[in-house]
């Protein structure tokens, strides 16, 4: 509870800055309009106008909040939660690709890490490729993946999930290789004195040792998955998903819509990472590793 006050202070500061920036950036348009109409505006009128423009350069926080409510909660109240104008609908489209991609990426990441730790050839060969894969801009490779998969008849959810997996497997590989290697020489020697098999060493020592590493990389991987899913929606002219909302917003200069989609994505990411954090706390507590 002690942390509430500092957090609120920071939030207030950000909101205040945001309002200030909105006035600064949107002022010119207001003044231009007034000049064209031959009006003289007082300072209060200018400030008031910068808060309510249809297509502001930077929407004010309350505009974004109102748009968010209009496209989520309000639609639920009207019973149209899954209409095409609802952010819940678009959010779900993106979320489903994110979760599928996250599952694929995490699974592949863990398997690769197990291979790297247990097999010298994989250790030498896989890691450089994994690193190289992340140096390619995802925006460049995303359309390729979609085109290639489309040509073999796969479209919709799967290509987006694969792009999302492409981004999320990497932090899991890196984290899990470190985690599976975290037991020290002495602990490995101890199991050796029991003549433990490789799988016993894995299940009794390496896997439990890697848990703290796993959850840390899952958090990074989850955020990367969401980015991947959204990026996967951008280059295809998708009509559904948060990425599509961002794209449509930018086509039509609907800055309020862009910002509300951005916030929806941020809220989604925060909730997903929060859920992993919760699972982490419960798991580590049950393992007796949380103090």
């Amino acid at each position: 509870m002690r942390s509430v006050l500092p957090i609120l202070t920071v939030v207030m500061a950000i909101v205040a800055l945001w309002y200030g920036a909105a006035v600064m950036l949107n002022r010119q348009w207001t003044l231009d309009q007034a000049a064209r109409a031959g009006q003289e505006l007082t300072l209060t009128q200018v400030v008031a106008d910068t808060m309510v423009q249809d297509r502001p350069k930077l929407p004010a926080p309350h505009q974004v909040g109102a748009e968010l409510w209009k496209t989520t909660g309000d639609m639920v109240l009207q019973g149209r939660a899954f209409s095409k104008r609802s952010l819940i609908y678009h959010g779900w489209i993106t979320l489903s690709a994110t979760l599928l991609g996250f599952a694929i990426g995490t699974g592949a990441g863990i398997l690769l890490a197990i291979g790297i730790v247990h097999n010298r050839a994989m250790d030498m060969s896989v890691m450089p490729w994994a690193i190289a894969s992340q140096t390619i801009p995802i925006l460049a490779i995303a359309p390729m993946i979609i085109v290639v998969l489309n040509s073999v008849g796969i479209s919709g959810l799967i290509p987006k999930a694969i792009i999302s997996a492409y981004l999320s497997f990497f932090p899991v590989v890196v984290g899990m290789v470190a985690g599976l290697r975290s037991p020290d020489r002495m602990q490995l020697d101890l199991l050796k004195t029991y003549s433990a098999s490789r799988s016993q060493v894995f299940w009794k020592l390496r896997w439990p040792s890697s848990m703290p590493y796993l959850f840390t990389s899952l958090k990074v991987g989850m955020a990367a998955s969401l980015v991947g899913a959204i990026v996967g929606e951008l280059p295809t002219g998708a009509v559904r998903g948060l990425g599509a909302r961002l794209l449509a917003g930018s086509y039509y200069g609907q800055t309020v819509q862009i910002w509300s989609a951005l916030f929806a994505a941020a809220i989604l990411a925060a909730s997903l990472v929060g859920i992993i954090g919760l699972i982490q706390r419960v798991t580590l507590k049950r393992m007796g590793m949380a103090r």
Binding site: M186, Q187, D189, L190, L191, K192, T193, Y194, S195, A196, Q200, K204, L205, P208, M211, M287, G288, M289, R291
Partner: protein
Amino acid sequence: MQTPIVKADHLDLVFQTNDGPVHALSDVSLEVMKGDFVSFIGPSGCGKTTFLRCVAALEHPTGGSLTVNGMTPDNARQERSYGYVFQAAGLYPWRTIARNIKLPLEIMGFSKAEQDKRVERVLDLVDLKGFGKKYPWQLSGGMQQRASIARALAFDADILLMDEPFGALDEIVRDHLNEQLLALWARTHKTCLFVTHSIPEAVYLSTKIVVMSPRPGRITDVIESPLPKERPLDIRDTPEFLEVAHRVREGLRAGHAYDD
């Protein structure tokens, strides 16, 4: 004539490193009889830990012969001939003390009921009764090390290999644990091989003290202790004790252990 539990005959171990070969062990010959408590003492790099690791088949000698219970060290390990206690307790933080002690039992495939029975027994042996449900971090360093000894005892190996098990503990705790270890040794009739840096510890515990020196790692003196089996802590002030300690110190000096 009894056969030795551990028999090393002209043992050599050369590590190939980037700076050239390192003679970790050179011409080490030693016999350890059943029920002996043998301490290995010497400065860092004298090969005392390496010798213990050879007995445990964690290192493999490059020359000479070594038998443990009449077998090769590898076979002896398969036969669960020894329990190894490391410098650090090395308990798994995600397991309770009882489940830590079960670790070797699980790996060796003991039944659940047998596991529980053995955990109770060894916890009692190391005076940790009632601590089975605690996690390692809830115990002091000395208690953790006792738990790790219990873990090494759980599967009834005849030999206990200990590599500076009390090295990280303060002297008061160490005295206490030394006393307990002697009592444990008297009760269980194990053969103990014990590596240490401390002269009083070596003299207090051992029936036989092996003094080693480095470059190359070799044995400079083997001292059969004249002290009685029954040893209260204040035996360390008797002339006999001081005499043995003196001889150990002489042995270390003879090995030019203090040169650098």
